[in-house]
């Protein structure tokens, strides 16, 4: 990772950096978790990345811990038994190459909370962005578009409320090549599609959301994408909310077909 390594780079190296920074989506995390035991190079990348990020983390503004924290912690220690199972680490990987192997990364302790965490909706980010006005972003529009922007911000705020609801399911929908295309937010009463990379549809086309938790894909709702749109609220039902896997297709015409023709994205609810 430092540039002096000879030979081929592992194509998963960028993901390994994201993994070490805990900044991947659950599906990518799972992919790296499966990959690491067999790849010494990526394990080294994780280790090197953690060194750097720990230094960054140790360099932020310093605060003294609350005075009572230590005594509370020590009281908790008295109530907490230690695990006596000697080797609690995952079994060492069997290296295919005969290089000296570092011990395996700590997959057990670090990741067990991460897998189940929910994706924070990108809606929150976009709303914050619109409000804070961070430079170089998509809401920096001309004056004559302020009204359209206000409408959109109101939609975004609504999306933020939906995203903040702990009952809301979130799914990152990806293209067949793995690129994130949209984020689906689903509650029992309403749902929204956060667009990330959906092309605007033609006037005689419609995007359709499919539920794929059933043997046959079920058409759930439809929506359109305008050039500047970011989030669409869609007609929804409790039955639609029961699905854990969603897909989006682009369909000719303006009604929902019985089966999808051109699936552009699919994904699973991320709170497994």
């Amino acid at each position: 990772m430092t540039g002096e390594r000879r030979g081929e780079r592992c194509p998963q190296e960028e993901l390994a950096v994201g993994w070490a920074m805990h900044s991947l989506e659950p599906d990518e995390e799972a992919r790296v978790r499966d990959h690491l035991p067999g790849c010494a190079q990526c394990r080294e990348t994780v280790r090197a990345t953690e060194e750097v990020t720990a230094a960054l983390g140790g360099s932020v503004r310093q605060y003294d811990p609350p005075t009572g924290l230590k005594s509370r912690l020590m009281a908790e220690v008295e109530r907490t038994p230690q695990e006596r199972v000697a080797p609690t680490r995952p079994a060492a990987p069997i290296p295919s190459e005969s290089v000296p192997e570092p011990a395996p990364v700590r997959l057990d302790e670090r990741r067990k909370n991460g897998i189940g965490r929910r994706l924070l909706a990108a809606a929150a980010v976009v709303v914050a962005l619109a409000a804070v006005g961070v430079a170089g972003v998509r809401f920096n529009q001309l004056d004559d578009r302020i009204s359209a922007e206000e409408q959109r911000n109101s939609r975004l705020n609504k999306a933020l409320e939906l995203a903040a609801n702990p009952e809301t399911n979130r799914a990152v929908l990806r293209s067949p090549s793995g690129d994130p295309v949209a984020i689906m937010l689903s509650s029992d009463a309403e749902a929204a599609v956060m667009e990330m990379k959906l092309a605007p549809n033609a006037a005689d086309q419609t995007y359709v959301v499919w539920g794929k938790s059933t043997p046959e894909a079920v058409p759930l709702t439809m929506f359109t994408v305008q050039p500047d749109s970011t989030v669409q609220f869609v007609n929804w039902s409790n039955a639609a909310h029961q699905h854990q896997v969603f897909a989006i297709s682009l369909e000719p015409g303006t009604t929902m077909p019985a089966t999808p023709s051109d699936v552009v994205a699919f994904g699973q609810v991320g709170n497994a």
């Binding site: 990772m1 430092t2 540039g3 950096v17 994201g18 920074m21 805990h22 900044s23 991947l24 989506e25 953690e50 060194e51 750097v52 990020t53 720990a54 230094a55 960054l56 140790g58 360099s59 932020v60 310093q62 605060y63 811990p65 609350p66 924290l69 230590k70 509370r72 020590m74 908790e76 220690v77 907490t80 038994p81 230690q82 695990e83 080797p87 609690t88 680490r89 570092p102 700590r106 302790e109 909370n113 965490r117 929910r118 994706l119 924070l120 990108a122 929150a124 980010v125 914050a128 962005l129 804070v132 961070v134 170089g136 972003v137 995203a163 903040a164 990152v172 690129d179 994130p180 956060m194």
Partner: protein
Amino acid sequence: MADSPAPASRPEPDGRTSDASLVERVSAGERGAFEELYDRYARPAYSLARRICVDPGLSEDVVQEAFLALWRNPAGYDRSRGGFGTWLMTVVHHRAVDAVRRENTQRRRNVPLTDEVSERNLTPADGADHAALNGVVGAEVREALKRLPEDQRQVIALAYLDGYTQIEVAALTGIPLGTVKSRTFAAIRRLRISLRSAWAGETGGETTGAHR
């Protein structure tokens, strides 16, 4: 467990017991060794949690849970994989990010990373002045960050310190996801090179604590 013989402490050149020895003693159930590790690392750990979580109560929970995880399973730290400080800060970061995502609380917005680091109070707390997590390292990190292009600093700040996922960073900045990934990778690689040469210069190649 109390009758397990404690491994002999191995003092470091400055006479301190090494972190790794203390962890071994924690494995034997020694409260004193655990307290010593707490005293060494509570301040940087809490500070990182505060930076990510903002909320003091949530930050305290994160630090308590991170140390309790060490108590429950000291073997979770594997010294062959690096310094104890690196491990602990990684655990704290991970838990803090999980907490802030779970709580969906307000996060600090994108403060320019070098400004933030330069705000740092460089007076080390008594007992917490160990290893990477004190004095001189702040200056090294600040220097290393200064040498990063602004766009790389931004993705590092959003992903690591604000706890956003890479997809969220892409949505936030309008930068394509692939670019977010490659910039993150490039930034870490540059920081690694800068910091490693700084650390080597400082210690003559010997590294301690979070440096390993």
